[in-house]
Assembly symmetry: C2
Homo-oligomer: 236 residues x 2
DNA sequence: GATACCACTGTCAGATTCTGGCAGCAGCAT
DNA sequence: ATGCTGCTGCCAGAATCTGACAGTGGTATC
């Protein structure tokens, strides 16, 4: 196995383990000496991979995605840039910042002439007419990623407020509103929550007992029309 | 210089030259023997780079972007995926297909567990309420990329049709409509054209005499409010 | 505090890979 | 036909990678 393949393998192995892994274990999995493993780690860190090693514990890979060299056509890169620009204009500030960062990273590694093209890519996104919500959608996305329960106050269409504890697994982006899809513990059913009607968000440490992919699949099966993923006027 | 750096350099050099370049020249630019160059080319082709070599001519790189290994955070990849999904739902079919292709390419190089995450990434884009236009926006984007003149029929808000020859340099994506921004030869001024009012598109081979980046910059300077990039109701 | 891990660095000889030069074949343009 | 070019196989020397050993300092556990 070539060195470059091994480096990618190393990332994969690290991602499989959520707990810290010792260098000896990693070296064993790749049939390589510890000394070489340390060199590989150093190389990856040099390339920007967020690997952290602590004496007495082991190595952990901070969450993230390593992309190997990749070829995109003109139209594909235009699509990615346009899409990222759209995200950058969304009211979800953290996600918008992430979109900007991703574009910067891509721009940083391109030669000058290509960067110019990208900076001036002539596909523009119009100003967003979306309403602003009071809550931090970043908390919702984090809860979805971690598969943890989420508590909040919800005001339905008639203005009646209620306290909720839900298992969130999806977030829908529409022209004017964002909708969280979750299993509601109170109602014991799937419910949709408009972000602009949510308040007093409280993230918990409690993992919910199901996989978000499974819930997503099940929820999709309950939808009547495959084309219309999330009913716009749904209330929790 | 390490081999991997050299491979990236090779791509950059190839992109600088639009005409075919001989292997001897490339080898010279990188201070490397021609034998090594052939091996480098083979390696790049093996990684999917669209390099074509023809005996008696030289090498040409088909248009495209080569991304080196890159680290993205969870939120950054979420932003890219969400943005690409939004693009994939746009009525511009070619661009939508490109967005899907780009996502496939990214998914293809990820280990299984990450691909699952990406497939089931829990950020959804609602159905697009955008109107469908009769013309192929791909033609417009190609004309912008190539900086070539574009002819078409335009019906303004009052229904009056007129024939136009323009220098297109930007395309705006709004919730419900797409707007082409161009220099109009007839009016001798910048004009905005709603895509759903355009018809009988005819791409030409004639390059217009200005750089699209320069026109974009100048057009931006003419806008009163920086936040509102393209007036929605503008007619050509 | 003693102990056991563990991350991390330096060194060096042997294994591995990369590189350049050479020879040879085939396709393209003039 | 001639010259240029892409492309492949081969081989010896150069460069790099690898494994083993030794040593330093940090962390958790008993």
């Amino acid at each position: 196995m070539s060195r470059s393949e091994r480096l990618l393998d190393l990332i994969q192995i690290l991602r499989r383990h959520r707990r810290p892994v010792s260098g000896r274990t990693l070296a064993g999995e790749m049939s390589v000496s510890i000394r070489t493993l340390y060199r590989d780690i150093a190389t990856l860190q040099g390339q920007g991979a967020p690997i952290e090693g602590e004496a007495g514990l082991g190595y952990v890979l901070k969450p993230g995605f390593m992309l190997p060299p990749l070829m995109f056509t003109d139209e594909e890169i235009e699509a990615i840039v346009l899409g990222s620009r759209w995200v950058a204009k969304q009211p979800d500030k953290r996600l918008a910042a992430a979109a900007t960062d991703a574009l910067s990273k891509i721009a940083a590694v391109l030669p000058d002439d290509l960067r110019e093209d990208l900076d001036a890519t002539t596909l523009l996104v119009g100003p967003s007419s979306a309403s602003v919500e009071a809550i931090d959608l970043g908390v919702v996305r984090q809860a979805i990623r971690d598969e943890r329960k989420l508590g909040f106050l919800y005001s339905d269409a008639r203005g009646a407020a209620s306290e909720r504890m839900v298992w969130p697994f999806a977030l829908g982006f529409f022209d004017k509103v964002r909708v969280m899809v979750a299993w509601c513990e109170t109602r014991q059913d799937f419910r949709h929550f408009r972000a602009d009607r949510m308040s007093h968000l409280s993230a918990t440490d409690i993992r919910y007992p199901r996989r978000r992919q499974a819930m997503l699949k099940e929820w999709r099966a309950t939808l009547d029309k495959p084309g219309q993923k999330v009913p716009k006027n749904s209330a929790g």
